[in-house]
Amino acid sequence: MTMTTTNEMTAAPPAHRRIANADLIGLAVILLVAAVGYFLFPNNLALLTRIIAAALLVLSLDLVTGYCGVATLGHAALFGAGAYAAGIASAHYGINDPLAMLAFGIVAGAVAGLICGVVILRAHGLPQLVLSIALIHLFHEFANKASSWTGGSDGLSGIAPTALFSLYEFDLWGRTAYVFGVALLVIVFLLLRLIVRSPFGMLCRGIKEDPIRIRSMGASPKIALTKMYVISGAVAGVGGALNAISTQVVGLDSLSFTMSAESLVMLVLGGTGSLFGALTGTVVFMFFEDVVSAANPFHWLTMVGALLIAVVLFAPKGIYGTAAALITRRREAP
């Protein structure tokens, strides 16, 4: 699987500062979009929260696929693990504090990431893709069979998060959940910005390009990629837990092949190897899925398909990646 990449870090001399500026701009854009969404769709905050959860999944996928070049169609396993862990903690163990549920989600996501990483990283290319598909089916089937824990195909219900910080109830309009989601997204985004430009992030980019060269520098690609998988799992776990907390149900679809494939579509749509690309792709795809499908229930899938083909053919770096490349080129040639 070949994918064109955009990295946020094309360091030029005062690179520090430019990077820090990009962080601030990114933060400002996220908050602005979040605020606009809040005022445009005050009656549909649940949708916006779902977009945020999906964005966390796509960011997580970007870490292993965009930054490390791992081919996977099973990434929802990490998201679903987080969702079920947070949900089960509440529904079966009475752990209803949202932050505690979140912690369960993060740990479960990280563990699922470790398991998937260990299995998937044994292969490369097409066999790797097949392993990832096998894994998501196994996870799905396991959740289906363990119905006394997961509710099976009926879904897991009885999730009842208490007030956030014992202050903010999760209201019917989904305001608390939305603000909680935006806060989580911002925190995760900033942490990931740190990680992708850290020495470890640089190591992973090297592994993506030439693992043999990395070995000749004395570093182990396998250990680094496994570590990235665990981080990716934690991020997906945040998304899963957010989903469980905000919707108060967890269904098998959160552990599905469909969701895995859709997250890959969102990532490619926005642009792999860039956190902004992951966010852009999610927002565009989810917007199409929910808003356009409501306006035009018959043709929205056609439109998504056409959009995807157009992007892959004419903007192979994705929507964000292509836009960023254009801007860079313009800046360099005044």
Binding site: T5, A15, L194, F200, M202, G218
Partner: protein, 254 residues
């Protein structure tokens, strides 16, 4: 002096063709050895075998007295055996500064760090600028590798190897593809290496070989046919024969 690097009876065949045929050699700290031989003699294969990029059929490799034949490529690098590649292997999307910084960070056990950036690490940057300065790449250090000339990529390949601070350095045709005007930089960088580092350089440029090496090993058809001083190599009848036709340079350069 105890050898820092030793190869014993190394053998490897590809489909019946012995590409490395019972090769033995040993190097002491500070050695400057040139490994020469006609195209297809098995020089690169030898490097691949000793660094663990390829498995030998039989034989042993020792670093600092320790047998590393069953140690993987990563473990051998960590024991100080570092190579450069004949065909440049660099990360097209990364900058020279990032390449060298990654090597420095890896060497010092910091390549797994999840925070900070090498641009903000004065110690790392000092080393990056020093090394790239020596190889004349400082002005390009923040350009993507895909945007710099091949000759400069060759120099970067050497910078990465040096940044790992090896005990034994294997250079596979470091000057191939480097413009004549820049080979001086390679020589200078080699001359600046720590005195106790053992260097084995594969090279076709005989002028470079004779200025650099105090010992020359000639490989032909997978076997060592000569191991001695540079002054004797061109007089050796077997070497002349091996090079006949394929390589008129050898006699002319002496």
């Amino acid at each position: 002096m105890q050898p820092i690097f030793e190869v014993r009876n190394l053998k490897r065949a590809f489909g019946g063709l012995a590409v490395t045929n019972d090769v033995s050699l040993s190097m002491a700290p500070g050695d400057r050895v040139a490994l020469i031989g006609p195209n297809g003699a098995g020089k690169t294969t030898f490097v691949n075998l000793v660094t663990g990029n390829l498995k030998p059929d039989s034989g042993a490799v020792l670093i600092g007295g320790e047998t590393v034949t069953s140690v993987d490529a990563i473990g051998r690098v960590r024991r100080g055996l570092v190579r450069s590649f004949q065909v440049t292997r660099l990360f097209a999307d990364m900058t020279p500064a990032e390449h060298v910084a990654l090597a420095v960070l890896q060497r010092s056990g910091r390549a797994g760090r999840l925070f900070g950036n090498f641009l903000g690490m004065p110690g790392v940057m000092a080393e990056v600028e020093d090394l790239l300065g020596k190889l004349g790449l400082k002005d390009l250090m923040h350009r993507k590798v895909s945007e710099i000339a091949y000759g400069q990529q060759r120099l970067l390949e050497i910078a990465v190897a040096l940044a790992l601070r090896p005990r034994v350095l294997l250079l596979d045709e470091p000057a191939a593809g480097v413009p004549q005007s820049d080979t001086g930089r390679i020589e200078q960088a080699l001359a600046d290496l720590p005195a106790d580092l053992a260097v084995l350089m594969i090279e076709h440029d005989m002028d470079l070989v004779f200025r650099f090496a105090k010992r020359v090993i000639v490989l032909a058809a997978g076997a060592i046919i000569f191991d001695g001083s540079p002054s004797e190599v061109t007089k050796d009848p077997r070497v002349r024969e091996a090079y006949l036709g394929s390589y008129a340079n050898a006699s002319h350069a002496a």
